[in-house]
Amino acid sequence: MKSEGEFVNQPDNTAFTQQRLPAWQPMLSAGIVIPLFTLIGLAFIGIGVALFITSQNIKVQELDYTGTATSSPCFQCSGLSIQNCTCERNFSLSELFEGPVFFYYGLSNYYQNYRQYGVSKDDYQLSGDTTYFLKPQSYCSPYQYSNNKPIVPCGSIANSMFNDTFRLYLLVNGSRKQVPFDGKGIAWWTDYNIKYRNPSPVNGSFAAAFDGTTKPVNWQKSAYELDPTDQANNGFLNQDFLVWMRRAALPNFRKLYGRITGGDYSQGLPAGNYTLQISYNYPVLSFGGTKKVVFSNVSWMGGKNQFLGIAYLVIGSLCVVMAIVMLIVYAKYKFPDNDDA
């Protein structure tokens, strides 16, 4: 009837321009929402029970050794001026502490997540770039230079590295038997293999790469001699250093110190009396912090985590309750049918 060219200005007749795009129009109908809530609720309760039971089966042994109380064995070490102090804490296990057992140190009221603390490092140094050894970046200030010598590794994080060391002894028939900590592989794989790099040795000497630099103020040893027993565990690739450099998100945190896996202890820590020998170097009382050690084993979901299981149970139950409430409401105030129109 009408020729094509008659309406030159006529808009295109497409689903897009005419807003007629095919579309799915979901609606919160009772048939969807109530089963959904029931389903989520039941699933959460199921997961919650599983998590809770798993979590219950995980053993955790915590020992505070800050030494605030005078009765505490580490009290004598907690003074500010005391150096190279060692103290011991005894504990006993009534049954087998199933392995693998992980040994953590924990700090509280310690703000690794403070913004200025977090940026106080030199990423170029840590990736082994020796040009930054002599000229650390200004982020590191005030731990950039010490006695006009550049600090390697510079910055607050490195400077404040935790330096208490622990030895664990099992008391067998009155004699002490050392339980070995395995300190290997406690850092992130990516940290150890990609992110942190040691400088290339100069003339075959690793230490020579650090020439012209000085160790962080608080450190007792230089970076290249952190672990005298294992040459590969030195410099920036020292596992304890890597663990420390991965800063915690919260002011109360724990960090992995070592695993108890070796030899007689592959099944875990047998029941018995233990002594933990602590070389107490790291002052925390000045800012009201505490130190502790933690023995823990893990499951498929990691360490002990009551919170998650309980939260799942609570939320799951609430969902089921909500589903029941909605069902009642739905039954009572049925959605208006079109009959009354």
């Binding site: 008659e6 309406f7 030159v8 200005n9 006529q10 808009p11 005419q18 807003q19 579309a23 979901p26 609606m27 919160l28 929402v33 959904l36 809530f37 997961i47 992980f102 009221n109 703000y111 997540n113 913004r115 200025q116 990423d123 170029y124 990736s127 200030s141 005030p142 607050s156 404040s160 850092a187 794989w189 990516t190 940290d191 990609i194 992110k195 991965r246 800063r247 998100a249 919260l250 002011p251 960090k255 992995l256 800012f287 009201g288 823990s296 893990v298 499951s299 979901m301 990691g302 360490g303 002990k304 985590n305 998650l308 939260a311 969902c319 409430v325 409401v329 959605f335 208006p336 079109n338």
Partner: protein, 1194 residues
């Protein structure tokens, strides 16, 4: 010769290539939001404060600025293009006595240019001479003021003699005139030429934008050119309109600023306390930065750091997203085929892209009548001959007149064959009937070639009548001042025109007295039935009764009726009356009264011939549209310049007034007192029907005097306040108010009363209103009712109201384009309004509201996590997330899904929103986005942020990986929280999206996909190896997201965030469903059709008398004076000089006096009636605009 003024080049564009960048940037940074982000950027460059890298702010800022810049550049490009087109039009300029072609832009002030028929006037010209006699020329000012009827301009008699180019080249006068201004109907200046002074008025001016008509050519002197022309002065910067959502948004953004500062202060105080209690002691591990020496200074810095971190609550992309959404909505309007008019081939156009969502909130519509509701096309619909009633027969084939009448107009449609038969048979009464129509009028005819007649009628009604007569074989062919030549059934007849008894508003009729070729003298009269019936001869009373019945019938159909009559005069009667008539005509004082008396005398004892009915054709679908809009609770006021009867008639025919209307109140007083009383009378039945009117009146009076104008309701015994009473019983009353009453009603002391009354009425019709009054009425409602107003009109007289209203809609129809140019939306049919409001407006509002709710929600959910983290990181302004996440969150991860929702979402399909106009109500009540909704969104956002922080906190603080490595490191925490956030907001947008198109799917899934892709890329070793300093989150995502605990945490957080929302929405749907939910439910679940809620639109049938004269007075005189006749056809017009030039004064006074009084301050103080044409330099004290003029020498 000295200073020539401007050239005629116009420039409406804002930038050129060089200035674009600086000027545009400068303009953009005048936006507070943009400046704020610039300020943030500067803050971030201070290392002690900088808690975020500079790119977190600059990337979004640059994005926002460039999108806006691209939009501005495109706009400006089109302006350049249209400027170029106009500037390069050709005109003929007289240079050195020779006519030469010049581009418009090269025309200068002082040039003399030649215009030809149908050409646009290039600049404001002083008319020097014309090819027509007496230096007359005709112009059409449609583009200027929208009026389509022709206007007459006349040159000064001294210059009109300068006929040919050679004489004109010698012209060396000097014009002193007022400075450029925008008053279209006024000009005053003086021409000094040959040591004489000549006053110049608007009557001598041709303004830019006019079109020359019916004039072969004319010469004009350029007075104002380019930007000085009245057209350009009028098109000044249009006021920028903002929507209520815009204003709300600005308020909310300010509140958010306040909120931001509060958060900053709280955290800074926290920082101070922390630094004093903990940080000071913690210095052994973390010394204070050098400038910090005490906790207070640290707190101060911390404040600024937090301002930077929390800046994402003030969403930088908000404004640009809103613009994008509106732009898309505008395109949807432009693209809508259902708003495309096939006949005129014009699509709807959203000329303003900033007002869309306000279309969903309109409460008052102010409509023009002519051309808006009606088509401004009159069709001869039916006639009733007194002796033979010819009823409207079946709508069959239109009659084909051309077969027997070669002069018939092909566009004429008539369906009743019996009438044509009667003509053919030779029924004398029928012949006489059409003879009246062919003789009694003031139409001018133009016969370009044999048989091709073009009628130029002053009103469409007249044109329709004469055309009708023409098609029935009574063809009006030509006229001279003293004769009328017609062709009656193929035979040429020439009548001698003895007198035209002209039309005016009081007489409501016009007559001609002619001498037939047979020598009889006859008076033919046509006029309003009410007027004519009083003057009938007693013997035609029977006929009158029959006719009257039929008139009622036609009036009931909304037709405009007109009665026709004749009277035979004897020679003596004529001679006697002609004497008196001449006496009255020559009278100096009270000429008009005397003429009227003389007319009255002769128009007696008329014999009724019949009546005509003319349909003032309503536009298609007007009645339905109005019905639907009223059901949508939109109040429609008609503001028209037309007469009361016409307006009321149209009110009936478009169903604004129906027979259900209990009472139509007509306020027609001329004095303050009478208007007040009229209004009170209207108020009376509303307030308290039982109480006597006088008692009420007295009470109101006393209350008013006591309380300074405020009505006190206690007088009525504790009833609710008057407004609510008035509004609660609305629906049955209608108010008709005329312009002169309106002038009083709009005065400060009465406007409140007027408004309350008017708002209580279901329909309000204001007739005889001036353009300014239209705007004032709109302004009144806008000011007091706090409602969104929409003005719709098509003519220049509607421009002021279109500009005043929140939304202006222009009908691109018959009259000019002024209204369209001033409007925000334009389309060609009134009925498209329902689609614009109920479909597009409603959707726009809905989408915008949902968009804003979600937008604020997602930003709060995102940002407030930092606040909670502050309590655990020593208030150090440590961010929770990776800075790349912060940069990309708003512009990549979450922008597109919500944008897609804002563009495509639909709650109910379009046909449903037309079927259920009630769906429009949430918009009017502003229910979907207001301060309450905003706080709900914010609360939801904050709740989400609490969950998003404390759930990972609770889980991760204890958790370890399955290999024993603790999960509580910062990077794991950051990745977990960010992932949970992205998932939660994506689930939330999925819940909010009600209309999942493929695009929505793509954007939602795409955003989540993009998040994970970017996350893994950023944390990959590849990027780390290239930029070791930048990407220190290496490996976090792989490590974190491989842990089941992390996913359990995310799932837990998601359910805790979403489940309450889901439950709340479900319960709300069940317990308190909105209409849209119900409609959607039935639509989607039941797939069952509901009958439209509309009742059948019945046709009313009450008696209303209308009459059809809508034209100006004064044209009768113009015809008899012969001034507008060509010289050739004026050979025997010896009496032409008799009338002097008074007709043109009459015409002008009638037309322009009101405007002049209204708009020209420089005329104040002159007694009313002082001649307008005699402008002297003293009259315009500000006359300091001088231009010299002379032949152009190159």
């Amino acid at each position: 010769y000295p200073s020539r003024g401007h050239n005629n080049c116009i420039m409406t564009s804002k930038y050129n290539i060089i200035t674009f960048l600086p000027v545009n940037l400068f303009e953009q940074f005048q936006e507070v939001a943009n400046t704020y982000f610039l300020f943030l950027l500067i803050l971030q460059l201070i290392p002690q404060i900088s808690s975020l890298s500079w790119f977190t702010t600059i990337v979004p800022l640059v994005l926002v600025l460039s999108i806006t810049a691209v939009k501005d550049a495109t706009d400006d490009y089109f302006r350049h293009k249209s400027d170029n087109q106009v500037n390069n039009r050709q005109s003929q300029v007289l240079i050195n006595g020779i006519l030469q072609k010049e581009k418009w832009m090269n025309v200068r002030v002082g040039d003399i240019i030649k215009l030809e028929n149908n050409q646009f006037v290039a600049a404001d010209l002083l008319l020097l001479s014309s090819s027509e006699p007496h230096g007359l020329c005709y112009i059409e000012t449609a583009e200027l003021d929208g009026e389509t009827n022709m206007k007459v301009r006349q040159s000064l008699s001294v210059t009109s003699e300068l006929g040919d180019p050679n004489h004109l080249a010698q012209f060396d006068g000097e014009v002193v005139c007022e400075p450029p201004n925008n008053k279209l109907d006024r000009f005053c200046g003086t021409l000094y030429w040959r040591e004489c002074k000549y006053g110049l008025s608007n009557q001598n001016m041709l303004l830019r934008g006019c079109v020359l008509r019916n004039t072969e050519s004319c010469y004009g002197l350029v007075i104002f050119a380019g930007p000085d022309t009245k057209l350009m002065q009028n098109s000044g910067r249009t006021k920028f309109k903002r929507t209520s959502i815009d204003r709300l948004m600005n308020t909310l953004v300010l509140w958010i600023f306040g909120f931001l500062v509060c958060m900053g202060v709280i955290l800074a105080i926290g920082n101070a306390v922390w630094e004093r209690e903990v940080g000071f002691l913690f210095q052994s591990y973390l010394p204070w930065d050098p400038p910090v020496d005490n906790f207070l200074f640290s707190a101060f810095l911390s404040f600024w750091s937090y301002v930077i971190i929390l800046n994402t609550v003030v969403p930088i992309s908000l404004y640009v997203s809103v613009e994008v959404i509106r732009l898309c909505h505008s395109y949807f309007i432009n693209w809508d085929r259902r708003m495309f008019c096939n006949r005129s081939s014009t699509p709807a156009e959203a000329r303003s892209t900033t007002l869309n969502e306000e279309l969903g909130q309109v409460e008052y519509i102010f409509s023009d009548k002519t051309g808006t509701l009606t088509q401004n096309i009159m069709t001869f619909n039916n006639s009733i001959s007194a002796y033979d009633i010819l009823a409207l027969s079946q709508r069959a084939q239109p009659l084909d007149f051309s077969t027997w009448n070669p002069l018939a107009d092909r566009d004429f449609c008539f369906y009743d064959a019996s009438l044509l038969e009667a003509v053919k048979v030779g029924e004398p009464a029928v012949h006489e009937f059409f003879r009246v129509l062919s003789l009694c009028h003031t139409v001018m005819s133009e016969e370009k070639s044999e048989g091709e007649l073009v009628y130029k009628a002053q009103s469409p009604d007249e044109g329709a009548l004469v055309t009708a007569a023409r098609n029935f074989g009574f063809v009006f062919r030509s006229r001279t001042p003293s004769t009328i030549t017609t062709q009656e059934l193929g035979k040429a007849v020439t009548y001698t025109l003895l007198a035209i008894l002209d039309f005016n508003n009081i007489r409501k009729r016009m007559s001609v007295i002619v001498r037939t070729p047979e020598g009889r003298i006859r008076l033919y009269c046509k006029g309003a039935d009410t007027v004519l019936f009083e003057r009938l001869h007693s013997c035609s009373h029977d006929v009158m009764n029959i006719t009257s019945d039929h008139l009622n019938e036609y009036a009931g159909d909304g037709l405009r009726t007109l009665a026709l009559a004749y009277r035979d005069l004897s020679e003596e009667q004529w001679a006697e009356w002609a004497e008196r008539y001449r006496g009255a005509d020559k009278a100096i004082d009270c000429r008009e009264d005397r003429l009227a008396a003389a007319y009255e005398e002769i128009e007696q004892d008329l014999m009724l011939l019949g009546a005509t009915a003319i349909e003032d054709k309503l536009q298609e679908g007007v009645a339905e549209t109005i019905a639907i809009l009223s059901l949508a609770n939109i109040k429609i006021w008609v503001l028209t310049g037309d007469k009361q009867e016409t307006a009321v008639n149209i009110g009936y025919s478009c169903k604004m007034l129906t027979d259900d209307t209990t009472e139509v109140f007509i306020v027609n007083g001329h004095t303050v007192q009478s208007v007040r009383e009229d209004l009170r009378l209207v108020c009376h039945p509303f307030i308290c029907p039982q109480i006597q009117f006088h008692a009420i009146n007295r009470m109101m009076e006393s209350a008013r005097t006591r309380d300074g104008g405020k009505e006190v309701e206690t007088q009525w015994g504790g009833a609710s306040p008057p407004t609510s009473v008035l509004e609660s019983i609305s629906g049955e009353f209608a108010l008709v108010i005329s312009g002169h009453s309106l002038a009083h009603a709009l005065e400060a002391d009465m406007e409140q009363e007027f408004l309350e009354t008017a708002c209580a009425c279901r329909a309000v019709i204001c007739c005889r209103v001036t353009p300014l009054q239209k705007a004032m009425v709109v302004e009144l409602v806008k000011r007091h009712k706090n409602a969104v107003t929409l003005a719709i009109g098509d003519g220049a007289n509607d421009v002021s109201m279109i500009k005043t209203a929140h939304i202006g809609v222009g009908i691109s129809g018959q009259e000019g384009i002024q209204a369209v140019l001033a409007s925000d939306y334009s389309f060609s049919q009134f009925r498209f309004l329902q689609r614009l409001l109920l479909v597009h407006g409603r959707w726009s509002y809905l989408r915008m509201c949902r968009f804003l709710c979600y937008f604020f929600y997602k930003n709060f959910a995102f940002t407030m996590v930092h606040f909670w983290f502050g309590f655990f990181c020593g208030f150090s302004a440590q961010t929770v997330y990776d800075q790349y996440f912060i940069t990309l969150y708003n512009i990549v991860y979450t922008s597109l899904p919500v944008l897609a929702m804002g563009i495509f979402d639909q709650d109910v399909p379009e046909q449903r929103s037309l079927e259920y106009p009630k769906l429009y109500e949430p918009g009017q009540l502003n229910l979907l986005f207001n301060k309450r909704e905003f706080f709900i969104c914010i609360a939801q956002g904050i709740y989400t942020s609490v969950v998003l922080f404390f759930i990972p906190y609770g889980v991760l603080s204890q958790a370890t990986q399955s290999n024993g490595v603790p999960l509580a490191d910062y990077q794991t925490f950051a990745v977990t929280t960010a992932t949970a956030l992205v998932i939660v907001v994506s689930v939330q947008i999925s819940l909010d999206t009600g209309y999942w198109t493929a695009i929505n799917h793509f954007f939602v899934w795409g955003s989540v996909g993009a998040y994970f892709t970017i996350l893994f890329t950023m944390h990959s070793s590849v990027l780390f190896n290239i930029f070791p300093k930048q990407f220190h989150f290496l490996g976090s995502s792989q490590n974190t997201l491989a842990q089941p605990v992390v996913w359990l945490t995310i799932a837990l957080a998601t359910v805790i965030c979403i489940a309450p929302v889901l439950a709340f929405r479900f319960l709300k749907l069940d317990l308190k469903p909105q209409l849209s939910d119900t409609v959607r439910y039935t639509q989607l679940v039941q797939q069952k059709k509901w009958k439209p809620a509309l009742g059948r639109l019945g046709r009313g049938g009450s008696r209303r008398s209308g009459y059809a004269f809508a034209h100006q007075e004064g044209f009768g005189e113009l015809i008899t004076s012969g001034k507008n006749m060509r010289l050739s056809s004026l050979a025997l017009a010896t009496f032409a000089s008799r009338h002097s030039a008074s007709w043109i004064d009459t015409l002008r006074k009638k037309k322009h006096n009101p405007h002049i009084c209204m708009f020209s301050p420089c005329l104040r103080g002159f007694p009313p009636g002082s001649p307008v044409s005699s402008h002297s330099p003293q009259t315009c004290s500000q006359a300091n605009w001088t231009c010299y003029t002379a032949p152009r020498c190159v």
